[in-house]
């Protein structure tokens, strides 16, 4: 009987100890704990003013449009007058295509032997390479006129491929504005010139691994000339109605037995103009704007955040890149120098098989995540400064881990050619967003 009180006290002691232990536990209140640094957010919207593009046009110099030759039969001389007695008065007209030009801009440098090449498609579907001279046009500098104070644009040009060439490797020199593929029949070596004596339905620019005789499927810039205005032959004796007069000049000579006057007229075919950027849909002899074409235009928008050493940009409803291109993001400083953040990836997902999948092949692969009807519904560009050790981040951005974005002013989403070397920003920019002051 004496044991019962002992065991009862023991049980009571155990209950008290247990209760005290239970009651003294921590975390008995709701806790909201901040994780990591805050994100300074900014919007990213369409830009697109420096997409690959340009113009295709055809210049014709119709020589001897009107040649008038008078041959003297005799001379009648009076006291104050000399009269030329004309016996014949001949006149003829010939025309020659002097040059056809395809001007293209914002072409990034291509790696290896990769080149841009220009082609002409005839109404029968034949595609022929354009062989000719390639000239780079360089924006040397802007300067202020010391007298007027106006900004003066100074340009220069140089041939990067002589006649007989026809390819261009592109340039990452920010001073290079555009490049002209110019076909001058008089140049030696231009034996293959589809623009001469042939009707042309379209001109297109492609990316090739090397100078090619048939075009690749990366047909990213084109201009449909149409049947009505696409062709002209050098044997046309009469100027076509679809040309516009650019300039005229006259050259004359007086010989002992004749006077010869030659009028030159420089005319340009109408119906030519700006190149379209996207995917060329192939021959269409009916439509000037073919439904087979995919015309790229920057679309969609995003919300970005600079969070400590991390840059994360969520994009919505981006247009799919043209075949042969992919999206990449840069942050750019005030001098125009940029640092690659990352290439586009699919948005984060709890399903690891579709989370942050590379969208490098979004131009051709319909099975990548969130690709629906020509657009990328949700995507992301994200990276962190190298060495910052951020969770689930690649941590490969070439920036310091501290004050990561100091000195950088904006974010650029760009289209890069797949054959290209990612050397810098500012070309083919599709979307732009200014970094917030708090992180600059």
């Amino acid at each position: 009987m004496t044991r019962r009180p002992q065991s009862g006290r023991m049980a009571l002691f155990a209950v008290l100890v247990s209760g005290a232990f239970l009651a003294c536990q921590s975390s008995l209140t709701e806790v909201t704990e901040a994780v990591g640094p805050r994100s300074f957010d900014f919007a990213v919207g369409p830009a697109g003013s420096v997409l690959p593009g340009g113009a295709a046009y055809r210049e014709l110099v119709r020589t001897l449009v009107q040649r008038h030759q008078v041959t003297y039969e005799g001379v009648l001389v009076t006291s104050d007058t000399v009269v030329l007695l004309a016996s014949t008065n001949t006149q003829d007209t010939t025309a020659t295509d002097s040059a056809t030009t395809v001007m293209v801009g914002s072409l990034r440098h291509l790696s290896g032997n990769g080149v841009y090449q220009v082609w002409a498609q005839a109404p029968d579907g034949t595609i022929s390479p354009v062989v000719g001279r390639v000239t780079e046009y360089t924006h040397v500098f802007d300067q202020l006129d010391p007298i007027t104070g106006d900004s003066v644009f100074v340009a220069d040009s140089s041939d990067v491929a002589a006649s007989g060439g026809g390819t261009y490797a592109g340039s990452d020199d920010p001073l290079v504005d555009s490049v002209a593929f110019r076909i001058i029949p008089a140049d030696p070596g231009n034996t293959v010139n589809p623009f001469v004596n042939t009707q042309v339905n379209a001109v297109l620019v492609t990316i090739e691994s090397a100078q090619a005789t048939t075009p690749s499927n990366v047909r990213f810039a084109w201009r449909r000339l149409g049947i009505a205005t696409g062709g002209s032959t050098s044997s046309d004796a009469v100027l076509r109605a679809d040309t516009v007069l650019l300039a005229t000049f006259t050259v004359g000579s007086v010989r002992t037995d004749s006077i010869e006057v030659t009028r030159y007229a420089r005319r340009r075919l109408t119906g030519t103009g700006a190149l379209t950027f996207g995917n060329y849909g192939g021959l269409d002899i009916v439509n000037a704007a073919s439904p087979n074409d995919y015309i790229f235009a920057p679309r969609g928008a995003g919300l970005a955040g600079a969070r400590g050493p991390e840059m994360s940009v969520d994009m919505e409803e981006l247009a799919r890149p043209p075949v042969g291109f992919y999206y990449a993001g840069y942050i750019v400083d005030a001098d125009g120098k940029g640092v690659l953040v990352d290439t586009l990836r699919s948005a984060w997902s709890a399903d690891p098989t579709v989370s942050r999948v590379s969208m490098y092949d979004a131009d051709v692969n319909d099975l990548l995540p969130d690709i629906v009807a020509g657009e990328i519904r949700h995507s992301q560009i994200r990276n962190c400064a190298a060495g910052s050790g951020q969770n689930s981040c690649q941590n490969t951005m070439a920036l310091p881990a501290d004050n990561t974005f100091t000195g950088y002013v904006n974010f650029q989403l760009k289209l890069e050619p797949k054959g290209g070397v990612a050397l810098g920003p500012n070309k083919s920019v599709t979307h732009l967003g200014p970094l917030p002051k708090a992180v600059k």
Partner: protein, 220 residues
């Protein structure tokens, strides 16, 4: 919750049969529960009490009741809040009250030092923090236990038991414990807090405890 409690007590009464004081054991129990990580519940002390009717020196049946006050692990419940052009990520945790009750059976070798095994079935109720849940919210479902240990007799009516149990929670959904409304779930920095896959299923939780057994009738 109450339906399961009534069922558990009824089962215990059914198996206990006519009670005699010397056949009845009661003992408070103090232990520590390591809940399965995926449940989002941090380990915590659990206070319980066993009431066992001994059918003979080797077999007993009875009821149990346990209570614990663990907290949730904030990394399983991240939240995103944006203020104008600033976004912050939070890990949100909350205190819980876990109550567990049911019938159980014990088999032991007998003697001053004995080994025993025990198992049971019942229910658990997890009561969310009213502040976090914006009201009185609890989640109940079946709970099972299986385990064993050693029993050291300290006297004719007293013993100390050291035991380890597997507390088995079926149909457990971690999302039921989330204090974060869907509109605040992170979308922009979803894995700043390491992403934890959703958990929905059976959770095995380890419980180690010490019991102080008291026999009102002085024991057999």
């Amino acid at each position: 919750m109450y339906r399961r409690l009534v069922v558990a007590i009824g089962l215990a009464a059914l198996v206990a049969g006519p009670l005699a004081a010397q056949d009845f054991e009661i003992g408070p129990r103090l232990g520590y529960v390591k809940w399965k990580d995926a449940t989002g519940i941090k380990g915590a002390a659990m206070l319980g009490v066993d009431a066992i009717y001994r059918l003979n020196s080797h077999l007993g049946v009875g009821v149990r009741f346990d209570v614990a006050r663990p907290g949730t692990d904030g990394k399983y419940f991240p939240a995103q809040m944006s203020f104008n052009d600033t976004t912050m990520i939070f890990a949100v945790s909350q205190p819980l009250t876990v109550i567990q009750y049911g019938a159980q059976a014990v088999v032991e070798t007998g003697g001053a030092f004995s080994l025993f095994a025990k198992g049971g079935a019942g229910a658990r109720t997890i009561i969310l923090d009213p502040q976090a849940a914006h009201g009185r919210v609890n989640v109940s479902d079946w709970a099972f236990q299986a385990g064993g240990g050693i029993s050291l007799r300290a006297g004719s009516g007293t013993s100390v038991k050291l035991e380890v149990q597997d507390l088995i929670y079926t149909n457990f959904r971690r999302a039921d414990l989330s204090p974060v409304e869907p509109r605040f779930e992170p979308t922009r920095f979803p894995d700043v807090v390491p992403y934890q896959p959703a958990f929905d299923g059976t959770a095995h939780n380890i419980y180690a405890a010490i019991s102080f057994i008291f026999t009102p009738g002085g024991g057999r």
